[in-house]
Amino acid sequence: MPRAATPRAATSLADRIVPKILFLCALVSVLATAGIVAVLAIESAALFSSIGLSSFFLDTQWTPLFTDKHYGIWPLAAGTLLTTAIALAVALPLGLFAAIYLSEIASKRARRILKPTLEVLAGIPTVVYGYFALTMITPALQRVVPGLAAFNALSAGITMGMMILPLVASLSDDALFAVPQSLREGAYALGASQRATVFRVVLPTAISGVGAAAILAVSRAIGETMIVAVAAGQQPRLTLDPRVPIETMTAYIVQVSLGDTPSGSLEYRTLFAVGAALFVITLGLNILAQRMRGRLAGRTL
């Protein structure tokens, strides 16, 4: 980090106090993380001490709100996996090709307009995407997919894919664009076509950046809440059928918080156990993505 050297010993009052105040500001984010970890850990530990870890990981039913209570996380995990997989099937190929267009084919001018447009799209509130999924995408899909329920994983997943696509396209474009021009010129000088240049030279060079974008997309899909809360249903079930109502981990958290669950109850604590699982998964993915991007940045060509 380039910084001007301190002109002289910091003697003025402001120069001694201000850094301390600013340091406290920087500390707030650390406190927030510590708070998240503490809250999730304490409440989940309380849950596990009453129900046991095995009923969380081995049971195949999730019915903490019913009289016959089961605490198996797998139905929620299956719902999350299903919507995430559908979202990725939409966002990854389209996002990557959109990035190829932006980086390799579009004129400078077109890129300058299209990239900010994509970034605005990425800012559309997810509850608005939920509205699209429930009121437009599902009815449209019902005309072509037989047996599609009003709430289903397919519509939520496709809409989520559209929501994540700008992120994938923008991050992949950054990675592709950072590939030195000399590599492309070298490929063309050897007589390679543009297609061969893109797939054999540019993409492999940028692969860790593109991979990081894909991993962030997975993390985003797993943590996405409003689209699935609106459009996927609230029925935790262990299925990979995309046509029926399911429930994801995030949608469960929303469902419980809409009711008036007293704090300290088992139902209340399940929120934090599910949240903890979500936190661990997304944190792992985010760290992995950072490592991959770091590798890209650290390489000299």
Partner: protein, 278 residues
């Protein structure tokens, strides 16, 4: 151009155009569905059990309160953290720990911030389901974004200007206040606008901390219960009756107009920023 090149071009143009066209169609359909409800009375009525008479006054007021309170918390702390990291932080373990932490906090799903807000602000601090609890939750959510955009703005101020200020005998804090901050203000404001747009659309954390979905009053202070525009949309979408869908559409259009104007302001500020600094 080889056939392979042509196929690549077609596929990549299609991949970019398809989502844009689909989204434009969806927004167009939302506007069409919203038209019967959009009007002055929609903006100035309270929510109601009857779809035709329902409006978004309390949601608009709640969103406005939330945005002001959130800004009041997130901007000073975020800018302070950015100033510390850019201008003061000694390179070392603690600094890189803080930086790593901010990067990771940015990737935490917003619903988990909602869990934090529910437990800490609503229950432990006893703020209840108030505007203040909601704004504090949103402020923590936005903090990484404010810090990162502010750092970028601070970094764009050339070193030579700081050196010139030092050469005139200014100390570090005087240099920051009189040279660095004014020069980076457009960039900082751009980040603030983008964060505001994000805050205006966030739904999950507010649902988590238990913002009410039926609020027939305009909040008069930070400890009042509240609803907000995205929560009102979610509430109308969760109802089985189809009449409420038109209300949801109208509220979606209002929210999108709000988002786009905040984004447009950010782009305008960024364009002003791009005037080269000598």
């Amino acid at each position: 151009m080889t056939p392979g090149d042509r196929a690549l071009r077609a596929a990549s143009i299609l991949s970019l155009a398809l989502p844009l066209v689909v989204l434009a169609t969806l927004v167009g359909a939302a506007v069409k569905a919203a038209l019967p409800r959009l009007g002055w009375s929609f903006l100035t009525s309270f929510p109601s059990r009857f779809a035709e008479g329902a409006g978004i006054l309390s949601a608009l007021a709640g969103s406005a309160w939330l945005l002001v309170l959130t800004l009041a918390m997130a901007v000073p702390v975020g800018l302070g953290a950015a100033l510390y990291l850019e201008e003061y932080a000694p390179p070392g373990r603690l600094t890189s720990l803080i930086e790593l932490n901010i990067a990771n906090l940015a990737g935490v799903p917003s619903i988990i911030h909602g869990l934090l807000g529910l437990e800490i602000f609503v229950r432990v601090f006893g703020l209840g389901r108030s505007l203040l609890a909601g704004a504090a939750t949103l402020a923590l959510l936005l903090l990484p974004m404010v810090i990162m955009t502010s750092r970028e703005a601070l970094r764009s101020v050339p070193l030579s200007l700081r050196e010139a200020s030092f050469a005139l005998g200014a100390d570090r804090w005087q240099t920051i206040r009189q040279v660095v901050l004014p020069m980076s203000m457009p960039g900082i404001l751009t980040g603030v606008m983008l964060s505001l747009a994000r805050a205006a659309g966030e739904t999950a954390p507010l649902v988590m901390i238990g913002a009410l979905t039926y609020v027939a009053f305009v909040p008069s202070g930070p400890m009042d219960a509240f609803t907000a525009l995205p929560i009102q949309i979610f509430n109308w979408l969760s109802r089985p009756q189809a009449e409420f869908r038109a209300n949801a559409a109208a509220a979606v259009v209002v929210l999108l107009v709000l988002m786009l104007s905040l984004n447009a302001t950010a782009i305008w500020l960024r364009a002003r920023l791009e005037k080269p600094v000598q």
